[in-house]
């Protein structure tokens, strides 16, 4: 073929061929290795031990079964429901754990922390076990919050079915007050958060909708129940905001406040992102872009673009943390990545919503996820926490969707329908049958070590995370009050795992247990900035965060080698600001909100 070309052209083409083929070979070689070193040269500074059995936790999640009309994709529809939330329901100073399961007749579990590293399962005696019943639905998750400000943590359980609100009577027993509270609503929900949106000192409730609320998954009148777009679906269940009236009753104010998204929300979290004193709501939506509702003085919420609309993915979880110690709360949202098929990429969004946060034009979030953090697999629950107490947040991410036959993958079938016209896959009956195939199954969790401007590095193997469960909810809590954030993971259709954290003892820390007076007693929504030797960290008391999870409401700050704290600034939900100088460290400090 070269004979017909001028000789000099042939020679020059040969010159081009060298970098051409070299580029292909180099690309293939690069693809076999990691983009960056898999381990940090320095020690991670902590180790996580699986001490589930030793702690007396033997919880195994059971997935639900639904109407046979959707049997072809039941593994997909029934792939949620494993949750964990942390709350000190008996007020003994040690955080307790509540797990949900999702099969009719199976009990949820309440593990009371005995303070010695072990737990007792007391859900039945507390009245919180029997929540998975035909006609009422199956549990998808829960959130703790003292909605009546009586000093005892109450519990909301959200289900594919009716909501259920339980009042904590005496630290040992709970009473179902759903009906009297006006919350007997059928919602196919995967998330809820407590939020005092109007700063009246009473916890309000924001519940996310997934499937539409006219769908009873056990008695389907139609198979047109799925999303009508893989990227911009708006035919999901409606999110609802319930205003706490203070007399034990709640009022639906969704439309009045303008927060009724129908974008298949999987997770919500609240914080004052623009630092105007009012708590905002951030949503991770499946099959759609994330949404940020900015709170306009408790009168209404305004849907802000903030740069979120340009990326439509499959948001699963919202975690909040001060990523680079700038004194602002940033956001991490998990999404789907399956190598070769799909790179939605997780979002690590730096908060540039405040005037001093670095935004040159309009307030926005700036996605900073590099390839390491962006691709964690089919990612679910995630949480920020200073696992090594060095003063910066690590990031724990649970992964894996459906682990079944490891030799069969549904990804090829998924790829056929994912880009198709929405009318096709809105109808569950047109989906290829799942059979016993896996879909991003047997994935491992990631533990990303924060190296600041040096980027993130996955140290999961190094610190001892090796399980291949289908992780869903992740919660962090200092279970033994020893200055170490332990990790609890609820796995779908599989055992829950408790990872006990052992950080290097050379680093210092402080725990802050806030008690509201003018604010809600749980202090949910309070934001704390700790300044120590040039280190500045912000955290928020969460009323639900991550995916189907809630962390220890006591705030944990690592201090590195700093032996003192310059000052602690507490922004209470009431609007009050409290400054504490030089508090004691290496202990949990209880702080009560000033009454005036």
């Amino acid at each position: 073929m070269s004979a017909e070309l001028p000789r000099h052209q042939f020679a020059r083409r040969a010159v081009i061929a060298i970098p051409f083929f070299a580029a292909i070979v180099a690309a293939a070689r690069l693809d076999r290795g990691p983009i960056r070193a898999s381990a940090d040269p320095a020690r991670p500074g902590f180790v996580l031990h699986d001490e589930t059995a030793a702690a007396g936790i033997h919880f195994v999640h059971q997935r639900p079964s639904f109407d046979p009309k959707i049997a072809n994709i039941e593994p997909h529809v029934a792939a949620l429901g494993a949750s964990v939330s942390v709350g000190d329901f008996d007020g003994d100073g040690f955080p307790d754990l509540y797990f949900t399961t999702s099969r009719f007749g199976e009990p949820n579990a309440l593990y009371r922390n005995k303070g010695d590293g072990t737990f007792d399962e007391v859900a039945a005696s507390a009245g919180l076990a029997d929540l998975n019943r035909p006609g009422e639905g199956v549990s998808m998750g829960s959130v703790w919050g003292d909605f009546d400000n009586d000093g005892r943590e109450d519990l909301l359980v959200y289900r594919y079915g009716y909501l259920a609100l339980f009042k904590n009577l005496d630290g040992h027993h709970f009473q179902d007050v759903t009906q009297s509270a006006g919350l007997h609503r059928w919602m196919n929900s995967n998330g809820a958060i407590w939020i005092d949106y109007d700063r009246d000192g009473l916890l309000d409730l924001y519940v996310t909708g997934y499937f539409r609320d006219d769908i009873d998954l056990w008695h389907l009148s139609t198979t047109r129940i799925m999303h009508d777009s893989f990227e911009f679906a708006t035919n999901g269940g409606k999110n609802l905001l319930f205003h706490n009236l203070g007399n034990g009753k709640f009022e639906d104010v969704t439309d009045k406040l303008g927060v009724g998204s129908t974008r298949w929300t999987l997770a919500a979290a609240s914080a004052d992102f623009n630092e105007d004193g009012w708590p905002d709501i951030y949503l991770a939506n499946d099959y759609g872009p994330e949404e940020l509702y900015l709170n306009d003085h408790g009168k209404r919420f305004v849907l802000s673009t903030a740069g979120l609309e340009s990326e439509s993915k499959s948001g699963m979880s919202v975690a909040l943390g001060d990523v680079y110690n700038r004194g602002h709360l940033d956001v991490f949202v998990t999404d789907i990545s399956e190598r070769g098929y799909l790179f939605q990429n997780n979002n690590l969004r730096l908060n540039e919503m405040t005037p001093d946060a670095g935004s040159n034009d309009k307030p926005r979030f700036h996605n900073m996820a590099d390839a390491v953090v962006a691709d964690a697999g089919w990612a679910w629950g995630a949480q920020f926490g200073d696992l090594n107490n060095d003063g910066s947040n690590e990031l724990f991410v649970a992964n894996g969707f459906i682990s079944a036959d490891s030799t069969k993958s549904y990804w090829y079938a998924m790829s056929k329908i994912a880009g198709a016209n929405g009318r096709l896959f809105e109808d569950a009956s047109t989906w290829p049958a799942f059979g016993n195939a896996s879909l991003s199954g047997y994935e491992r969790s990631r533990v990303f070590l924060n190296r600041g401007l040096g980027g993130w590095v996955d140290v999961a193997q190094q610190v001892g995370i090796t399980d291949r469960y289908d992780g869903r909810a992740v919660a962090l809590a200092d279970l033994s009050n020893r200055g170490a954030l332990d990790v609890i993971v609820a796995n779908q259709n599989q055992p829950a795992v408790l990872y006990r954290n052992r950080p290097d003892s050379t680093n210092h820390w402080i725990g802050l247990s806030l008690v509201g007076t003018r604010s809600n007693r749980s202090a949910i929504g309070a934001e704390v900035v700790v300044e120590s030797g040039g280190l500045k960290q912000r955290r928020v008391v969460d009323g639900g965060m991550g995916f189907a999870s809630q962390n220890d409401r006591r705030l944990h700050f690592g201090l590195g080698h700093n032996e003192w704290i310059d000052r602690v600034v507490i922004h209470w939900p009431s609007g009050a600001q409290q400054v504490i100088t030089n508090p004691a460290i290496d202990r949990i400090v209880v702080v009560q909100e000033p009454k005036q």
């Binding site: 292909i24 690309a27 693809d31 190598r339 390839a371 953090v373 962006a374 994912a418 198709a420």
Partner: protein, 299 residues
């Protein structure tokens, strides 16, 4: 005296052929460039499909720069940059990398344009540049690169706009028969495949409504530079490409251990395999028949 209505009719009868004539005189490459620009603008405005304007800038700059450099280096002059422009936009739309990195657009742009200068037969490049780059990256780097499979809205409106303009322009470029032959073959062969495998038909023909295929049927399989000459042969090759794709899909149905690229982009791989073979045979048989070297095809 001419009434206003009649005048309008006369004016219309005068201007319509004139417009039509002007349309016919437009270089087809400009029409294709217009179409892909339209796709880009509609998809970006409606669905933010690009995923960051830096990707567009990098892909376009790389393609144009490589085209300028290599054409000057090999031919001593800078060639028309329409092809580089189309490749740059196609790569921007189709490549979906791991993380927020842009280097796959640099690599893809280089491979796309350089393939035209390196992979030739009798002075004609035999792969559609974007098809080669996408296929090479999918095969070589499945851990870091995937292709567009989402963020297109899944609604009919966008596809209708693209198909309306696409069919008009493909007609003008005289390749619409390739598009239609491929689409009909895809529908028939994959319906047959579904029936043979006792699977529902709809999921098997659903991909044709997806984003990848809108770009595939109007910009890759119809590339005037790389299709064979002769209308019937072009249609035959389109059928063979659809057949090859169906066989790839059949293998994936059976769980054969194919590289992931075959499961992700069976149409791209089918074209990457069949297209160059058909082109080489076309060039070879033309020479044999004519007894002289083939002239590179003109769009």
């Amino acid at each position: 005296m001419t009434q206003p209505a009649d005048a309008a009719a006369i004016a219309s009868s005068r201007t319509t052929p004139a417009r039509s004539e002007r349309f016919r005189k437009v270089d087809p490459r400009y029409l294709i460039a217009f179409l892909i620009t339209l796709v880009l603008v509609v998809a970006q405005l409606r669905y933010h499909v690009v995923g960051g304007y830096e990707r567009l800038a990098v892909a376009l700059l790389t393609c144009v720069a490589v085209e300028v450099l290599l054409s000057w280096f090999v031919r001593g002059r800078v060639v028309n940059l329409q092809s580089a422009y189309i490749s740059g936009i196609s790569l921007t739309l189709l490549l979906k990398p791991q993380g927020a990195v842009v280097w796959p657009f640099v690599l893809g742009g280089f491979l796309a344009i350089a393939s035209k200068y390196v992979l030739q037969y009798r002075g004609t490049h035999i792969w559609n540049p974007t098809n080669f780059a996408i296929s090479a990256l999918l095969l070589a780097m499945p851990n870091h690169v995937s292709v567009l499979s989402h963020q297109w809205g899944n609604d009919a409106a966008t596809n209708l706009v693209i198909w309306a303009f696409g069919l008009v322009i493909a007609s003008r470029v005289k390749v619409v028969h390739v598009t239609i032959t491929y689409v009909v073959s895809f529908l028939l062969l994959n319906s047959l495949r579904a029936l043979l495998l006792h699977q529902p038909v709809l999921p098997e023909i659903a991909p044709i409504t997806g984003p990848m295929y809108q770009l595939f049927v109007f910009f890759m399989i119809t590339d005037p530079r790389t299709v064979v000459r002769d209308r019937r042969k072009q249609m035959l090759v389109a059928v063979i490409i659809a057949l090859a794709e169906t066989l790839i899909r059949f293998a994936s149905d059976q769980g054969w251990p194919l590289p992931t690229a075959f499961n992700v982009g069976p149409a791209f791989l089918a074209l990457a395999i069949v297209g160059p073979i058909a082109k080489i045979i076309d060039l070879w048989t033309t020479r044999t028949t004519d007894g002289r070297a083939a002239t590179p095809a003109r769009p």
